[in-house]
Symmetry: C2
Subunit: 404 residues, 2 copies
């Protein structure tokens, strides 16, 4: 195997330059050096290699803005076609398949409905293989060789071993997934929790640059969390850390999808909110165990309009989630707790009880300087995050070896 | 300022060698190299420098054991007299002052009773200054110049800013402590949570070498925790992470010393256990708000002898602590939860309810491979841990600069 960048420091610098170009877009060599603390001689040597292997290209020199001095700068950009990756998001009764390029841009996206509860490990792999191949074929110039796949699954997964441990979308548990899929598709497959994908993309946003200790809570059908500690995701011993959804509000409380009682999810997730609501309120028809976005929107609207039953349901949910967040504050002392996911649609209805619960639970010294905020859920960022993670894990060296 | 070890790598290697000698005792140069992945030429150069500055000394060559080959090995050991440090542990109505040497060995220890609740920041500093100077004078060849002080305080502290945020032992809050003390005593002062000191020394024990994700819970007058993630202590944004004592068992539950309700500490700490017991059981006389070890021993004995009231008290405490540990498992997914502190005296009486509570709270997938164990509390390791931490933070370069 010929290697593009033989020594470890050179390799680290190459990866840093590729990451910078992916996160910040086209840049001049001198700015790449400044951003990464690398000498311009090293930047030049590395970009020359990357150019030679077709991983980057040069953009025409920037015209001088008024007052600019010196030679106009040639920009370096990642060559989008140098790699193609796919992120698959599997959640209850839905699979999203999104293809991205070497620059981290989305090139194609599909969403399919399916009954996830009836899947076996084999039929899940059949479905995923089929959808991934269809997306690869739909790419311009396709079918394209894929350089990596990120499987983002709601629930508990072990990224290190590639095992699905437990997902509310699936009946089977403790099953290896990355190995069989990698064999079928002939490319590396990584497994991630869906919330970790979201957190990875949020953490890269400039708005959150000063909050290295960040807890991202995803409200939706279930409740997930990803915790960044000094910017690094908390994984735990086998990947099941940060499970706020199954931390406790009250012993012996509401029944959770996990089979235990009193979990935060059993009060503040979509299924929990709808379970309380559907007997008493007039809501759009549909599967009451798996409420649709239309059903949830209708419930939120009732609360916003002052319906006392709907308000009481969101009040209780806010109180439970507030206690859950209080435990997160006491145990992690984060800079910021960021609430997002499709369930933020109901945040305003939960907010008063949620904030009162935190105040009831914790003395101000334990809340400290931790802030609480929401992030809008105008689009599902899971696959964008997953594409970023699989690209980050993809060694540029390997791309050139394979394409040569 | 002349520097003993000018370049950064050389400096890291020097610190690594000093740490290895402190943690593992006298070692041959070749073994020091192996343990730290350093060439023997580098080890020789560094130990020569350290010898020249009186920071290490040579021990006579080890006689060959049966079957040994080659030249007998000369051992290098830290020179105990090269530095003297003190750890002060402040807890409710008690201050421990322990002096240690450069090798991390305890050289002198004192324990004093005092009424901590009446202290002001100034009178606290007066008391600490007096006790620390007395300990320094009591050292062989004293009074000795001190090279560093670790202040280990029960409660919430900010190591980065040197601020005491909140301690159950003290009435005042949000007060800088390290600055004033460093000025009075003329040496560096660090501030640590008492549980972090314990965790730091436990994490160095070979028994816990394979549990890099370790939660150490300290039971006693209050309930503290220290969480190591991949071997690094979790501090949080301002040092108040891992506060399991104030995570919640049930909303609106038992009143906690913090002023809120339903905290784990309000059920399973000494004061909480004794509060339930003293009206109904015949126990040794004393301050019922601050039960003594004799009072707590008497309560545990009653439970062990089958007294139904005492058993019920420990049952409820075990259930609350079990729910607290369940949240730790769900949120941190540690390799091991280790329960220690003087309160382990009652662990056996709590254990059945505690284990049942974890099982009631969490599905097996979320308990995963996490283990639960106790560590005996035959001696208070806080100051030994604090001595280790302040020595680790003490730059050998600074010692030679000051002593030359």
């Amino acid at each position: 195997m010929t290697s593009l960048v033989p020594d470890p420091t050179r390799r680290d610098n190459t990866l840093a330059i590729v990451d910078t170009l992916r996160n910040q877009g086209p840049m001049a060599r001198i700015d790449l050096g400044t951003a990464n603390g690398i000498s311009s001689a090293t930047v030049t040597a590395i970009t020359t290699e990357l150019l030679r292997h077709g991983l980057v290209s040069e953009l025409p020199a920037e015209p001088h803005r008024q007052g600019g001095r010196g030679r106009p700068k040639t920009l370096i950009r990642l060559e989008p076609e140098a790699a193609h990756v796919v992120c698959v998001k599997l959640s209850l009764n839905e699979v999203q398949v999104v293809a991205g390029d070497f620059a981290g841009q989305v090139r194609h996206a599909e969403t399919h409905s399916l009954t996830t509860a009836t899947l076996t490990p084999d039929t899940l792999c059949d479905v995923l293989e089929e959808h991934i191949q269809a997306v690869s074929a739909a790419l311009p110039g396709g079918p394209r060789r894929l350089d990596g796949i990120c499987l983002a699954i709601q629930g508990v997964v072990s990224p290190a071993s590639g095992m699905l441990i437990w997902s509310p979308a699936l009946r089977f548990r403790n099953t290896p997934l990355t190995g069989p899929l990698a064999e079928r598709l002939g490319c590396p497959v990584m497994l991630e929790n869906d919330t970790n994908c979201i957190a990875s993309i949020l953490a890269r946003q400039p708005a959150y640059a000063d909050t290295p200790n960040l807890a991202v809570i995803m409200l939706g059908y279930g409740i997930g969390m990803s915790v960044l500690i000094d910017g690094r995701p908390l994984l735990g011993a086998n990947g099941s850390a940060a499970e706020i959804g199954h931390s406790k509000f009250e012993p012996g409380g509401a029944l959770c999808a996990c089979g235990r009682r009193g979990c935060i999810e059993a009060y503040a997730s979509d299924y929990a909110l709808y379970r309380e609501a559907h007997a008493l309120l007039s809501l759009p028809p549909g599967d009451s165990a798996h409420p649709s976005e239309a059903q949830m929107q209708a419930l939120v609207r009732l609360a916003e309009q002052g319906d006392p039953v709907a308000r009481q349901i969101y009040h209780k949910a806010g109180r439970a989630l507030g206690y859950g967040i209080a435990n997160v504050l006491a145990l992690f002392n984060p800079d910021l707790v960021l609430v997002t996911g499709s369930g933020v649609r109901g945040y305003a209805a939960m907010q008063p009880a949620l904030e009162a619960a935190i105040d009831e639970a914790l003395v101000p010294e334990l809340v400290g300087a931790s802030r609480l905020a929401t992030h809008p859920w105008d689009r599902d960022m899971t696959c964008l995050g997953g594409i970023g993670l699989i690209l980050e894990a993809t060694d540029p060296m390997r791309l050139t070896d394979l394409s040569s």
